[in-house]
């Protein structure tokens, strides 16, 4: 008879760390699957790339762990053999390795890193960032449970800093109908527009469903939300962290919206703000990594609102539109400090704790208000600069007109198009258009106006859709057969500002060089008006 002397309690909850990690793995795999399906709908090569990035990232991390733990496991194997000589040394080593690998959870970091990379990431970049992530981010700190930073985020930021250009331009021409943003991420586009969403025809549903391009995993906002709720109910992640993080950001964006003059549209504006740039993905999968979280409930909330504040600062006031990753690393760094500061009973001194949380949230709100005002003003100026067109029309000979279109504020010409337009007043058709001069920077717009004579350079491929641009050229510029005045006039509408153009018109002009097409149509219509062709 043998009596066990292990310490109390003798009952343990069935749930294990391994089970928690497996559930998390399933959740990540679902997001990955959604991403693979989406990229397959764009093109087989993209789909395969999405699969490859995930596999390469995960396999690399597991391999690094394997090599890292090999000496230790060989030692364990030998020890086991020395105790019982019947055992096979190789088998024992592999057994130790199997336990080590299955309880080090390298694949979780591997999947997260993969989902944080865009589909165009070259595989060598994936390999290098995966090695940095697992080695520097985790193993050198002592492996699972001891790492200070979220390994996947370490890898992602390494990739961003060292291979930033290959990440951005790696996405080749795209067939998405989400034309204006194709290639470039929504976040960087919005960032260029001072975070104002008017005039940028974002389909909220598309943003929520995630069928647009970004990094592999971050775009599926709604899916991530549902998975997040399930994970929170199953206690795989702590609900407090994502709720306080996203909640703070939502409120701050809401204030930014109100102060930016959106009125009731602010609710939608704020929803868009939290749907982009991996906020949801970061909130559910990265920020909640318990190893890098404070342990106490109040600490977790402070951690979450702190991360929200940093995200807001980095996103709206610094030059990195993807502020989520940086904010997570910053808060990871502060985690030991937060833990350190929370002493005594968790059930007491609740008021000061709420005070700290409220203070940090308030800071975010103040930033939200100021960013609303700042961006509003900046955007107004930008909007005027880009959207005002003026033209000078001259009659050269009968039915032939010379027109010069200028885009920009008075005295500050932004861009210029010069062309010769021939009209047939009897049939009310445009018979010939000759583009005499154009922007001249060799960009997408120039390529469009020349019908590809100036080549669609790869450097600008991410701006737009070459095929659509050519289709526009064929229909409105090349004019194999005369085209009716009404074709132009319906696009133009009544106002010469894109903000007021009909959505149909927007569909026509948005091929990747919006202001070029807009200026072109404007010019032709001015000619028709001048000749008295408009009725």
């Amino acid at each position: 008879m043998k009596f066990s002397m292990s310490p109390a309690p003798f009952l343990r909850r069935k749930r294990t760390t391994l089970a928690i990690m497996l559930e998390l793995t399933i959740a990540l795999a679902l997001v990955w699957l959604a991403s693979i399906i989406y990229y397959f709908t764009i093109g087989t090569n993209h789909g395969l790339q999405a699969i490859l990035i995930g596999v390469v990232s995960t396999v690399t991390m597991m391999l690094v762990e394997f090599l890292f733990y090999l000496p230790k496991c060989i030692k364990d194997g030998k020890e086991a053999v020395s105790k019982n000589s019947e055992l096979n040394c190789f088998k024992e080593t592999m057994k130790a390795m199997g336990y080590k690998l299955s309880h080090s959870f390298g694949w979780v970091s591997g999947l997260i890193l993969a989902l944080l990379l865009p589909v165009g990431t070259p595989l060598y970049v994936v390999v290098v960032s995966a090695i940095i992530a697992i080695l520097v981010g985790k193993l050198l700190f002592g492996g699972f449970g001891y790492n200070i930073f979220n390994p996947a985020i370490v890898g992602r930021i390494f990739a961003q800093l060292c291979f930033g250009t290959s990440l951005a331009y790696g996405v080749e021409e795209s067939v998405s109908d989400f034309t204006i943003f194709t290639g470039a991420t929504v976040t960087s586009q919005l960032s260029n527009n001072n975070w104002m969403t008017t005039g940028l025809d974002i389909d909220l549903w598309k943003l929520l469903l995630g069928n647009y391009q970004g990094t592999l995993g971050e775009t599926f906002t709604l899916l991530i939300l549902v998975i997040g709720v399930v994970l929170a109910i199953r206690k795989v992640i702590d609900w407090k962290v994502p709720v306080f993080y996203v909640g703070t950001l939502y409120l701050a964006s809401l204030l930014a919206g109100f102060c930016g003059g959106y009125g009731l549209g602010s609710f939608e504006y704020a929803l868009i703000q939290i749907s982009i740039g991996g906020i949801m993905f970061g909130a559910v999968f990265c920020l909640t990594d318990p190893v890098t979280n404070p342990t106490s409930p109040s600490g977790k909330v402070i951690f979450a609102v702190g991360a929200a504040l940093f995200t807001f600062v980095i996103r709206y006031f610094a030059s990195a539109p993807e502020g989520v990753a940086y904010s997570i690393l910053l808060m990871n760094m502060l985690t030991p400090l937060i833990d350190r500061c929370i002493k005594g009973f968790t059930t007491k001194k609740l008021l000061p704790k709420w005070g700290v949380i409220g203070g940090i949230m308030l800071a975010s709100m103040v930033l939200g208000v100021s960013s609303g005002f700042v961006n509003h003003g900046a955007y107004d100026a930008e909007y005027r600069r880009q959207n005002e067109f003026s033209s000078v029309v001259e009659k050269v000979e009968d039915n032939v007109y010379h027109v010069e279109v200028e885009q920009g504020e008075k005295g500050r010409v932004w861009s210029k198009i010069e062309m010769k337009v021939t009209l047939d007043m009897n049939n009310r058709t445009v018979t010939k258009i000759e583009v005499l001069s154009y922007g001249g920077n060799g960009g997408f717009g120039d390529a469009l106006l020349t019908g590809g004579e100036i080549e669609f350079s790869d450097d600008f491929a991410y701006f737009g859709d070459k095929n659509k641009a050519l289709a526009f050229y064929d229909k409105y510029i090349k004019l194999d057969s005369p085209l009716s005045f009404d074709e132009y006039l319906t696009i133009y509408g009544k106002e010469n500002s894109i903000g007021n153009w009909s959505s149909e018109a927007k569909g026509v002009i948005r091929v990747g060089a919006t202001y070029t097409t807009m200026g072109f149509i404007y010019g032709v219509c001015e000619v028709i008006n001048y000749a008295g062709g408009a009725q």
Partner: protein, 447 residues
């Protein structure tokens, strides 16, 4: 409850099933051969030596005083009649080391000495408290604290809570005793209410015990002072602090009396009623013997001083070669080194579980232990402080407030013995305290 503070309790999965092993079965009477010899330790329930009243060779009867506890001045009675034939070193469950036990050969005549006279209806509070002391009643919920101390010179109490929550898995003795002795319970409740001058006496148990509820409700009208309240099925709801907070929303620093509350176990209350009304002392105890390590699970009525090994034998023995033998429930009790220990008044269960090896992983830092700690402290942070030998940090984390309920180890997904780390932290704090005292004394001696 705030979302940034500890929740303080947790529903244990499978607790109902564990209780059902014994709750619906009749209480068994132990066989004569199992109690042919009775062993009474020569120390009190908390391992402090007795002033002995008998010696080897003496004839003893039910109610003979074996000795007097020196710490609280209460008697320890003999539970059977017969002869003290020897002294034997046996393991003591509380002391954690072998101590001398009297071996009493049971003659099964059950001869009694009237140890106490019953008190009349008009007995004063002081007389009743004295009677409780003389009866040697200690807390039967597990702690073994002498009951009369709580009521001596009592003042400013408005509520007496009678604890029948029994939140540990497997144990069902409180439940069985409440079912069987409802009148004694209500009478005892009235007595305790009277001597403490309380406005109300609350009998508390878990909401699922509907049969107890019904049985008590049938006759409760005769006891106007007594109320019944149910609590949720969570652990450690039976801990004084949690129970008081749950029932009265009051919190206190050190003792329940600060919150104007006294807490007693229901079985203690029944013993009080027997001593006061009938002059009877406690000789027998119902113990739950349960778990997957014993062939037959049941409640058994045994004389105090029965060896655990003979009870297990009576129930068909162990089911495995390697078991954990626990005096009490599985959450707080430590493993016994052997089954030669004896049943003491404050032992209400024997849990025998098949041995399960537990392999722990590095801490995930999930904070589940912090989120559920009933004491509101941060077990994982204390663990880190203990590992890094940072005594100041251990102190600042209020490690001394730990009640060792075991919930943090229970809930840990990495299967870390968190409770053990906190215990180590407490030990280190105590050692430091002693060191400081010694240094102070040395400094004073120099002067």
């Amino acid at each position: 409850m705030s979302i940034i503070s500890s929740r303080g309790y947790l529903h244990l999965k499978g607790i109902k099933e564990s209780k059902h092993l014994t709750s619906d079965k009749e209480v068994l009477e132990i066989s004569n051969e199992a109690i042919a010899k009775i062993y009474i330790p020569e120390v009190g329930p908390n391992a402090v030596p007795l002033t002995l009243n008998v010696k080897v060779g003496d004839e003893v009867k039910v109610g003979s005083v074996i000795g007097i506890r020196t710490d609280f001045n209460i008697p320890v009675y003999c539970s059977v009649s017969g002869k003290i034939i020897a002294e034997e070193m046996l393991f003591h469950a509380v002391a954690g080391r072998p101590v001398k036990h009297f071996v009493i050969e049971n003659d099964f005549k059950d001869e009694k000495i009237k140890a106490l006279e019953p008190l009349g209806e008009d007995a004063s509070a002081e007389e009743i408290v004295e009677q409780i002391r003389k009866a040697g009643i200690v807390g039967l919920g597990g702690a073994g604290f002498p009951t009369y101390i709580k009521y001596r010179g009592v003042k400013d109490i408005d509520t007496v809570i009678l604890n029948g929550v029994e939140c540990e898995p497997f144990l069902t003795t409180d439940y069985k005793e409440m079912q069987e002795k409802r009148e004694l319970l209500l009478k005892g409740a009235t007595i305790l209410g009277r001597i403490s001058n309380a406005k109300e006496v609350i009998i508390a148990f878990k909401a699922d015990k509907v049969d107890v509820m019904a049985k008590l409700n049938e006759i409760i009208a005769d006891y106007p002072l007594v109320k019944i309240k149910t609590v949720k099925d969570a652990y450690p709801m039976g801990w004084e602090r949690t129970l008081i907070k749950e029932l009265t929303s009051r919190e206190y620093d050190r003792l329940p009396s600060e919150a104007h509350v006294i807490v007693n176990n229901v079985q203690t209350t029944i013993e009080v009623a027997r001593a006061v009304l009938y002059g009877e002392i406690m000789t027998h105890k119902v113990v739950t013997v349960s778990g997957d390590g014993v062939t037959k699970q049941s409640n058994v009525r045994v004389p105090i001083g029965t060896k655990v090994s003979s009870i297990v034998e009576f129930l068909g023995g162990y089911t495995d070669e390697n078991v954990a033998l626990l005096l009490g429930g599985p959450m707080t009790s430590k493993g016994q080194m052997n089954d030669g220990v004896v049943i003491l008044p404050n032992c209400n269960g024997i849990t025998i579980l098949k041995h399960r090896a537990i392999k722990s992983l590095p801490c995930l830092r999930c904070g589940a232990c912090v989120e559920h700690c009933p004491a509101g402290i941060q077990p994982v942070e204390i663990k880190i402080a203990v590992e890094s030998k940072n005594i100041d940090r251990i102190a600042s984390l209020n490690a001394m407030s730990c009640v060792e309920c075991g919930l943090c180890s229970y809930i840990c997904p990495s299967k870390i013995d968190v409770t053990e780390f906190v215990k180590k932290g407490k030990l280190q704090l105590r050692l430091q305290e002693q060191k400081k005292l010694a240094q102070q004394k040395a400094a004073e001696a120099k002067k």
